[in-house]
Amino acid sequence: MPVQYEGVKEEHLAVRSGCGIFDVSHMGEIRTSGPEAEAFLQRLLSNDVSKLALGGAQYSCLCAPDGGILDDLFTYRLGEQDYLTVTNASNHESDLAHFLEVAADFEVEVNDAHADWAMLAVQGPAARDLVAGLASSELPARMTAAAVEIAGAEVLVCGTGYTGEAGVELMISPEHAPAIWDALLAAGARPAGLGARDTLRLEVCFHLHGHEISPERNPIEAGLGWCCKEATGFIGAEAIATAREGGTPERLVAFKLTERGIPRDGNELLADGEPVGVVTSGTFAPSLGLGAGMGYVRAEQAEPGTSLEVDVRGRRRAAEIAAMPLYEKHN
């Protein structure tokens, strides 16, 4: 996946106004099946896997015993005892090793399915209609998945995405992926790259592993407490319950610059001249037309409206903590 095709800003705005496609085949997949598949995933994943209906999708964290976030994952329930979990490319091997280690205690089969799937994300207000025009049957609703024939090939269509727009993610047998890519382009979708994927997700405050979340951060401080159901007893639940109960010293916030400038990852955040945190992702936000980002600050300084400064390569830029998401569709 290239950083850009036409230009990050153009691709970003094309997704917000029409339809873009991202080749995200670098994402990994782990397939889990067997009589104890649900109990096994319940042990690993932070969300309540028993609530995952057949054909449903669920977001969760994969945590270490200390609550640190090893990865964030989407899991799709394909059959009664059959689940597909999508991993971040850079964590795929370590996630798989972790799955296999825990699997020893369960009657379950865990397979590396990375090579079985190409993945295309079709995103934007026009995305669903565009894909529906190539599909043999109705597309699954948001947060569900179903097998649908698209441009003559069987595709697992998932009502998920990483842009804040309507759309689908297509899981495709790799030999059929080029033809589907071409069919989507012919139908009017615009190719979009990694650069636009990053600015789109940042505007809607979706986390990126290695930036907002990492093994050094727990889901509570990252604002992901909503996908942690400690009562299920998943690995890390105790530490997360403690963090939820007692609060965390820092919290993830979104911010906008109130003057010109572009914050970047690693820039220091200051309040009243004192360091209070660090930028985890920063960019020029094309739909907002200004510099914006996310970062961790001391919990007592985390309220929206709080004035900050961002140290951008030695120059201090005025900023303000903003409500999440930074960008919200108004139609």
Partner: protein, 130 residues
């Protein structure tokens, strides 16, 4: 929307893809078509302040695309006497009109003879073709 690839005959060029339009003891600086194309859509331009000095071959300004920050290098030395405020308001001028509306600063040269080290258009085009 982006400009056609051009390299005006009347400019002198620095190998870091900067141009100077020299008028006696003053000069205007900017970046070349090649530089803006490599950078992508400029969304932020940070000029130096009027009255500060710049040195030949040293960074004097920053331009940013969505993804990256780039330094802009001074083709000649001198004191900043004007900055292009329009390009601060509308950084896309640097892409759309790199030699006119997208100029960056005007400089009072401290050593006009430095210009002898700059490239003419033929030499700059040759550098680009390598």
């Amino acid at each position: 929307m982006a400009a056609e690839e051009t390299y005006p005959e009347d400019l002198r060029y620095h190998p870091e893809h900067d141009w100077a339009r020299i008028d006696g003891e003053e000069a205007t600086f900017g970046i070349t078509w090649y530089a803006q194309e490599a950078l992508g859509e400029v969304v932020f331009f940070e000029p130096p302040e009027v009255g500060t000095t710049v040195s030949k071959d040293a960074a004097y300004a920053e331009v940013e695309s969505v993804k990256a920050v780039s330094d802009v290098f001074a083709p000649l030395s001198g004191e900043i006497i004007a900055v292009n405020e329009a390009a601060q308001e509308e950084p896309e001028l640097i892409n759309n009109d790199p030699y006119e509306g997208g100029w960056m600063v005007k400089v009072k040269l401290s050593d006009p003879a430095e210009a002898e080290a700059l490239l003419d258009v033929a030499a700059y085009r040759e550098l680009l073709s390598d």
